[in-house]
Structures are given as C-alpha cells and as structure tokens.
C-alpha cells in the first residue's frame, strides 16, 4: 500500500511538468501582457514604445518564451515561487493568506453535502416511488441544473438584502474573529456551494443504493432473518458507498482549487477570488501557481479516491 502511494506521488512530478508547460504556453497566447494590464490606459496612451520595452525588460518579458519558462521553472525548483506582478507580494504569502479561507469554505461544503447527500439519497431509494422520493428527485434536478451563481445571487437578495439576516459577503470583520462572528459569513457561501453537490451526491447515492438493493445478496441477508435496518445499511449502503466516494473524490479538487464563482459572488477572500484577479491582470506567475495548485489537488484527489475505494471494497487491490 505504502509503496503504491509513493509510486503514485512520484508520477505527479512529470505530470505537473507537462501541465505547467501547457499552462505557460496558453498564457503566452493570450492578448496583452502584464505591462499593458498594469498601466492605466490613460497613462499608457502617452508612453512611447521605448518606454514600454524598458518596462518589459524590467519584468523580464523581453526574453523568448522558452527562456522565460526555463527561468520560471528553475526558480520553482529552488522553492522560489516568484512574486505577484500586481502587488509585488511573494506568491507563497498570497497562498498562506488565501488558502485557509478556501479550505474553510470547502471543508464545510464538502462535509455538509456528503452527509446530506448520502442521507437524502438513501432515504429516497428506500422510499422509492413515494411523494418524498419524487419531490427529492425534482429538487435534485433543480439543484444540478441551475448554475450556482444564480443561487448565490438569489440567496444574497433574500437573506442579506431583504431579510438582513446574514452579511452580504466577506469572511470576517477586522477585530471580530470568534467562531460566532465568523459563522454568519460562511453560512451562505457554504450552503450555496453545497447545494449543487448535495443534489449530485443525492442523485448518485439514490441510484447506487437502488442498484445495491436489487442485488442477490440482499435476498440472502433477508433470508438469514436479519432486521431491515441491518439489511439496508450494512448490506445495501456499504456496497452503494463505493461509487459515491468516487463522485465525492472527483468534486474535491473543484472545491480546493477555488470555488471561483462562489468566492466571487460572496467576495470570499480565497484562492478562487485571487485567481480571477490574476487572470484579469495577466499576472502570470500567480496564474501559474494557482493552476499548478489546482492540478496538484486533482492528482491528489484521484490518489485519495483510489486509497479510499481500496479500504471500502476488498475486491480492489492496490498492488
């Protein structure tokens, strides 16, 4: 098991290299560069081409594409992730600032959606064809098909603007950082973020559970005289869990890599928010690092899925 995990982690390195090159190349193809984005258009109109080139030289943008990529890569390998072009802040500092906020939001959303999704999905499967099941199906379809920014805006309108129960955005106010001060801020973004995932997990858990319950071993369990709860939970749900874990695992990087839209809607100071700002400003060192971080979390999540399925399902062997 351990050897398997180590081997998988080593494979990460070449994959990250390839992807970093692709992202770097894609950035190169976007119109404009950091200099043109940094400078106010009113000012840039009065600058001469020579002055532009001087600035580009200062930022190291005049070298060839491959040379710049090489320099960037060498720095990364030395642990120097570079500075944000926009504020001159070291990128590691940006990550340290932003990551806790993103993780906080993701963990709450992931826990909530997993637990609620599994409970509702299982309930739905056990009460198949009932009114409760049908209404959950409709809610699930709505949750999956309506985009999350729409939910976010509607929630803001109702709970923050009309009712005034919850703050409009942000994570915490300076000086108020007890858990009771923080909780109202996270409720809305976390709920909106989990809504879609809950719907997805629920639909998946339902069909997976129905599939498990139709298996022959459920009849065997019943023929042994086991009580219904044990048949449903220990024999049904346990088997239904494997595909659900895979689904949740695939959602994991989406949550870690910054729930870009939700963070934007609620002005949540996380990675996703920083990402949008960086892309707008052609802040390529920051874009690179966030993109690589997302890739890394995808790879990590797939490893976590493999390990988890092996733990849940004895038929899966990792050797």
């Amino acid at each position: 098991m351990l050897i398997y995990i180590i081997r998988r982690v080593l494979i990460f390195i070449p994959m990250l290299l390839v992807i970093s090159f692709l992202v770097y190349g894609a950035l190169e193809l976007t119109p404009g560069d950091a200099v043109s984005a940094l400078i106010n258009p009113e000012v840039s109109g009065r600058l001469t081409e020579a002055q532009f080139n001087e600035l580009r030289e200062a930022y190291g943008l005049n070298k060839s594409f491959l040379a710049r990529y090489g320099i960037w890569l060498a720095n990364v390998f030395q642990g120097n992730f570079g500075h944000s072009l926009a504020g001159g802040v070291p990128i590691s500092t940006i990550f340290l600032d932003r990551l806790p906020a993103t993780l906080e939001l993701s963990v709450v959303a992931l826990l909530f959606s997993t637990i609620m999704g599994c409970i509702l999905g299982t309930f739905s499967a056990l009460k198949r064809g009932s009114i409760a099941d049908s209404s959950l199906t409709v809610v699930g379809m709505l949750g999956v098909s309506i985009p999350e920014f729409f939910f976010g805006l509607v929630a803001l309108l109702i709970f923050a603007l009309n009712l005034g129960w919850l703050p409009v955005g942000g994570r915490l106010l300076p000086g108020y950082d007890s858990i009771w001060d923080r909780a109202p801020h996270i409720i809305m973004p976390a709920m909106v973020l989990s809504l879609m995932m809950t719907a997805g997990v629920m639909r998946y858990a339902r069909s997976s559970m129905l599939d498990a319950l139709s298996k022959e071993f459920i009849k065997t369990a019943r023929s042994k005289g086991l009580p219904e709860w044990r048949i449903n939970l220990m024999h049904g749900f346990r088997v239904a869990l494997t595909p659900v874990v895979v689904l949740i695992g695939f959602r994991l990087p989406l949550l870690i890599g910054g729930s870009v839209i939700i963070e934007q809607v609620f002005q949540w100071p996380g990675i996703g928010n920083a990402f949008i700002a960086a892309v707008r400003g052609s802040d390529y060192p920051l874009v690179m690092m966030i993109a690589l971080f997302s890739v890394f979390s995808v790879l990590l999540a797939s490893l976590v899925i493999d390990v988890l399925t092996a733990l849940i399902d004895p038929r899966v062997r990792l050797n």
Binding site: T220, A221, G225
Partner: protein, 337 residues
C-alpha cells in the same frame, strides 16, 4: 396421508399473484404439497413455472408487488404449528423463522454473497441473530461449520472475502450459512446450476449428509431430472403455476401419469444410448402468463388432448401418495392398474 408429526411443512391451495403494469400474473395458482422430515422433495419444471416463487413464498421473500392471495403455508415446528402466510412479511416472528428454522440457499453463489464482507462475518451474522453465542463462540462455530462443509484450512479461510473463494467453495459457504442454526427445513433453489458437474456432485453429497445427520427436510428446486433421480424422495412437477403431478420418485419417474411429465422425461437425452437416439422435445412453448389457455394449461401442447381439456382439471388422487391434474390420466396408467 402421512402422520402429522412426520411433516415439516405443508402448503395448501397456495396462490401467489404478481401485479405489474395493472396486470396480474398468477405465478402460483393453487399449489399444495408437503415436505417430510428428513426427506427431499424435488420440485421440477421449466423456467418460469413457479418453482422459485413457491420457495420465496414459503420464506416470505417475495418482491413488493406480489401477494399471497389465498391458501396456507403451515410450518410444523417443535412448538406447534405456525401459519407463515399470516405473519407480517418482515416482522419479528417471520425473521425469527428465517435463517433459523427455515433456511435457503440460492442459485448463484457468485452474487448471493456480499462482496464487501468476509465469509466468516456473513456466516456469523446468522448466529448473531438467532443464538446467544458471544463473538468468540460465533467465530469458533463458524470455523467448525466451514470445516464440516469440507473447506480446508477453515481457520484461515474464514477471514477471506467471497472473491477469494471459488464457485464451489462459495456454495459450500452458503450452505454453511444456511445450516448454521440447524434449520428444520432447507430450501435449495437450483443450488448447482451455476457450478460445474464435479462440484455439483460434491454439493449434493453434502446435502445428503446433512439430511441424514440432522433430519433436515429439504426442498430442492431443479430442472435436472438426473438430480431428481439421484436425490429425491418425493417429486412435484410444476407447470404454469400448478403442480401437475406429485408422488414418490419411483412413481413419477418410472410411471408418469401426466402427459407433461411424460413429455418432459422423453425430451431428456440419455447417456450411453448414442447419438442416434430419438429425443422428442415438447412442441410449442409455454403460454404467456397474461394470456393463458382457458382449460388445462398444458392442453395446447398435449398429444393426449380431448374436448374435456377445455375445462381446468381438478387434482385427483391416483393412490395414497400420488396426485395428478389431468382428465385423461387413466390413458397413461400402465396396464393392470
């Protein structure tokens, strides 16, 4: 008729219907039989004739869209008779009987075991719910059971998962599970259909041993006449939800008096007769259960058909042990009877 204390389970005029898409499938349409203690009753018939539904009805393991319409299933336990059809489907009394008094083994051992639990855990579950043994005793008993079923190194194999067992071993594990609480009745629903012939023989040997050692009554569902000849004490032949002929194995196999039984036996190739032997398959096919013949269900395919066959025949007792459902059975009786 047998004395009551010899009988483990009696079924009287049982009707089980399935309801799908507003249509009613009369899967079992008035079936009566008895399972004797320490004897094997073989139920034979084509696919879809109601064999498995009969077994499921006894265990109340029917799907949700089906109902016992009529009749009695009486389990003659040591503590008096229990009317199984009156018990709540998954209620406590029914659960107390399942697995402990009446146990069942299924057709396909590949799918009948839960893939995510060890063999030992799944056998132990029965013991946990039907006995007062503690977990250590349960483990010991499980190992003993596996050893009795002829699984080598049971101390190690008990912690294996089903996928680490071969097909034959899984069916042995299933039998160990079924026999764990020494049930009075064992229902085996085509237990060897999914296994190869050598394993099949071993499994039947094992069931034979259990029958003689524990006085277990066995209801064996099969469509293999060879198995019937080998194992059965009594035989019931089913067709379209009815038992068309029932009797001891000698009577039914040697002198079948129902045209269907006779046709069934004629359609089996016999080993040693060579490739020139004449096999006569039954003409036609089983009727659509939603569009049944009016009278005798077998009449459209029957070579003995007469005008009376347009009316459903009653069950007739030919002699003390034998029953048949045919107007013209006398034509099939051997001369002199």
């Amino acid at each position: 008729m047998q004395a009551a204390h010899d009988i483990a389970l009696s079924v009287k005029d049982l009707k089980t219907y399935f309801y799908t898409n507003n249509r009613c499938n009369k899967a079992i349409n008035g079936v009566s039989f008895e399972i004797r203690k320490g004897k094997t009753l073989c139920v034979v018939g084509e696919s879809g004739c109601g064999k498995s539904v009969t077994a499921s009805t006894i265990m109340q393991l029917l799907p949700a869209l089906s109902r016992i319409e009529q009749g009695q299933v009486t389990y003659h336990s040591d503590n008096g008779d229990v009317e199984i059809e009156k018990l709540e489907r998954d209620g406590q009394e029914m659960r107390a009987i399942r697995g402990s008094e009446i146990a069942m083994i299924f057709q396909d051992p590949m799918t009948a075991l839960n893939p995510v639990y060890t063999i030992g855990f799944q056998i132990g579950e029965s013991l946990k719910y039907h006995t007062n043994l503690n977990s250590k005793e349960i483990r010991e008993r499980t190992i003993d059971l596996l050893r009795d079923m002829g699984i080598s190194l049971p101390e190690m194999r008990v912690d294996d998962y089903p996928h680490q067992f071969s097909g034959g071993m899984r069916q042995r594990a299933m039998i160990a599970m079924a026999m764990s609480c020494n049930p009075k009745i064992l229902i085996a629903d085509e237990p060897t259909t999914a296994l190869d012939v050598t394993i099949q023989a071993q499994i039947f040997e094992l069931m034979e041993k259990l029958k003689t050692e524990h006085e277990t009554a066995i209801m064996l569902i099969t469509h293999d006449m060879g198995v019937v000849a080998e194992l059965a004490d009594d035989v019931a032949v089913m067709y379209m939800g009815n038992i068309v002929e029932a009797g001891t194995v000698d009577q039914v196999l040697r002198n079948p008096v129902h045209p269907y039984t006779r046709a069934l036996l004629d359609s089996i190739p016999v080993l040693g007769k060579g490739k020139d032997q004449i096999i006569s398959p039954i003409s036609g096919s089983t009727p659509d259960p939603y569009n049944r013949p009016i009278g005798c269900q077998f009449a459209p395919r029957c070579s003995y058909k007469t005008d009376v066959c347009d009316v459903m025949p009653e069950e007739v007792n030919v002699d003390k042990t034998r029953r048949v459902m045919c107007w013209n059975y006398k034509d099939l009786l051997p001369n002199g009877e």
